[in-house]
């Protein structure tokens, strides 16, 4: 049988980036995508950080259909019926190309079209059903009746990666290692978005919410501004949802979030144009799969390359970088004419030298640290309450401000041993 150089399962960001780099070196590559077009099965929050990948992407993202450049970072602590925001902007964010919001059905489709112009075969509407084996090596994929033989299979088939599972590289999927993301895309005019979010044209905002939005469960809300839509959503730990008693329906949480006063004002008059959901790897470094085998490399979400840092969540730049390094590895393997795991180990070695595995490793204790109800109920309830008490001027004469603040901090437990220990332990993460 005739073998091509690389077959890529899944036309998301890792798969398409991989194909792009392979095409630059004239490698024979086929991308197989199960959706109508690349991007049609993808869901993101979300935004893409460009700095970590700028030295490796080359011209791949030139003229990319970014939605808006994030120049405003906001976080909210949501109590039951009150909230506090932090709103950050800076000249540095406004002057640089730090991060952009994206919509994947547009973004991935654009990248796939750019690839096809370079002569890469991107085959949509085909679900890859199985791997093809020769002894203990993977030598291709089976999609329906079609068999595609290749020297290297790149499994970039997303968080549920059936390919990594079939190759025996994936850990069993446990509820504690995943969260479910639920998202609404809401259409608003460009001017309304500029005005409501206090940004100029083509500038945007990223807003994370923590607290009552998940009823104290692990997770939070997000809002990203796109050109003429906003992406509003929730992320909730699957284990936390399973343990919640009495059970809360996931879709009802999403509805309650969008109906909050704070959100209602932002999306008023907007119309829902899409409702989507996807699971997200949450285990960080300890959740990643084995990254390669004989004839196979695992990239992007399929490998578990997603990082929840509490203050932000990252994944797409990890997908792009891992796709590019997978391509470099396949090119090297062709040079030495060896596609066994001995050569493909280069993939992991390279990822260890760059942010992909370095950042994941640095944050390896983050999932354990974040799995703490302090972040999801205690702080989001305490701080807005504190402000409410200070800022309320009633019939009674107001007591001394500092004294009231001190009493309040003492009585609500902000200075308790547990909280101070938590504060002390942040140096470990």
């Amino acid at each position: 049988m005739e073998k091509i150089d690389v077959v890529i399962v899944g036309g998301g960001l890792s798969g398409l980036s991989c194909a792009y780099k392979l095409a630059e070196k004239d490698m024979q590559v086929i991308v197989v995508e199960r959706g109508d077009f690349p991007g049609s099965k993808n869901v993101t929050g979300g935004r893409l950080y460009l700095e970590p990948i700028k030295s490796i992407v080359g011209d791949m993202l030139d003229d990319a259909p970014f939605e808006r450049k994030v120049v405003r970072e906001k976080w909210s602590l949501l109590g039951e019926d009150n909230s506090i925001n932090i709103d950050f902007t800076s000249e540095k964010l406004r002057q640089s190309n730090h991060s952009y919001t994206v919509l994947r059905a547009h973004f991935d489709r654009w990248l796939s079209e750019k690839l096809m112009e370079k002569g890469v075969f991107v085959i949509p509407k085909y679900r890859v059903d199985d791997l093809l084996w020769e002894g203990d090596s993977i030598v291709g994929v089976k999609a329906g009746e079609e068999e595609i033989y290749a020297n290297v299979v790149v499994a970039s088939d997303g968080v549920l990666s059936f390919m990594a599972e079939k190759a025996g590289l994936k850990q069993k999927m446990k509820p504690k290692n995943y969260a479910v993301g639920i998202k609404e895309v809401i259409e608003l005019s460009e001017e309304k978005i500029n005005d409501r979010f206090n940004v100029e044209a083509s500038e945007g905002c990223s807003h994370l919410f923590i607290g009552d939005v998940t009823k104290g469960m692990f997770g939070g809300g997000f809002l990203y501004t796109n050109k003429e839509t906003v992406s509003l959503g929730l992320v909730i730990g699957i284990k936390a949802l399973m343990e919640k008693a009495p059970a809360i329906e996931a879709h009802a949480l999403m509805n309650a979030f969008r109906e909050r006063y704070e959100i209602g004002r932002m999306i008023e008059g907007g119309s829902l144009v899409e409702y989507s959901a996807h699971i997200i790897p949450e285990a960080g470094y300890n959740g990643i799969s084995k990254l390669y085998g004989n004839g196979i490399i695992v990239a992007g979400d399929a490998a578990g390359f997603a990082l929840n840092m509490g203050v932000t969540v990252r994944g797409m730049e990890f997908a792009i970088a891992s796709g590019i390094i997978a391509a470099e590895t396949a090119i090297k393997a062709k040079e030495v004419d060896d596609y066994s795991e001995k050569t493909l180990a280069l993939y992991e070695n390279k990822l260890r030298e760059m942010f992909v595995l370095k950042d994941l490793y640095t944050c390896k204790d983050m999932p354990g640290f974040l799995d703490n109800d302090s972040f999801f109920s205690f702080y989001p309830n305490s701080f807005p309450d504190l402000v409410e008490k200070i800022m309320w001027f009633g019939e009674e004469p107001k007591g001394r401000l500092g004294k009231s603040l001190w009493n309040e901090i003492k009585s609500n437990g902000l200075l308790s041993f547990k909280r101070l220990k938590e504060l002390y332990s942040i140096k470990n993460i």
Binding site: R34, G35, D36, G39, S40, K41, N42, V43, T44, L103, R104, A105, H106, F107, D108, P124, K125, Y126, R127, A143, G144, V159, L160, F162, M173, K174, P175, Y178, V180, G181, I182, E184, V185, T229, S231, I238, L241, M242, A247, I248, E249, A250, H251, M254, N255, L272, V273, E274, Y275, S276, A277, H278, I279
Partner: protein, 92 residues
């Protein structure tokens, strides 16, 4: 807005055959919590009391994978819909 109304806004290409198979024996005899009933973002799982059966409206599946992960008893056998079928996101 109800979740079933939200789903009507999405684009689906529906296969005749379900990509989600449920082993009712496991649901009846082993599963205590029925997480699928509350955890699905599309609210597609329901319990049919007359037949003592879990029913899934697979046509509205958002393909998120939550039920696959949450069904720790292994009653839900979940694969991607065949190529060309299932939800087709236009924003993503």
């Amino acid at each position: 807005m109800r979740v079933d109304e939200k789903l009507t806004i999405d684009a689906f290409k529906v296969d005749r055959e379900s990509h989600i198979k449920i082993n009712q024996d496991i649901c009846r005899n082993k599963c205590k919590n029925k997480y699928c009933l509350s955890i699905c973002p599309g609210h597609l799982y329901t319990f049919n009391q007359d037949n003592n059966e879990i029913v899934v409206e697979f046509a509205g599946c958002l393909e998120c994978g939550t039920c696959k992960v949450a069904c720790t008893d292994g009653a839900i056998e979940w694969v991607y819909p065949k190529g060309e079928f299932g939800v087709q996101y236009r924003y993503g």
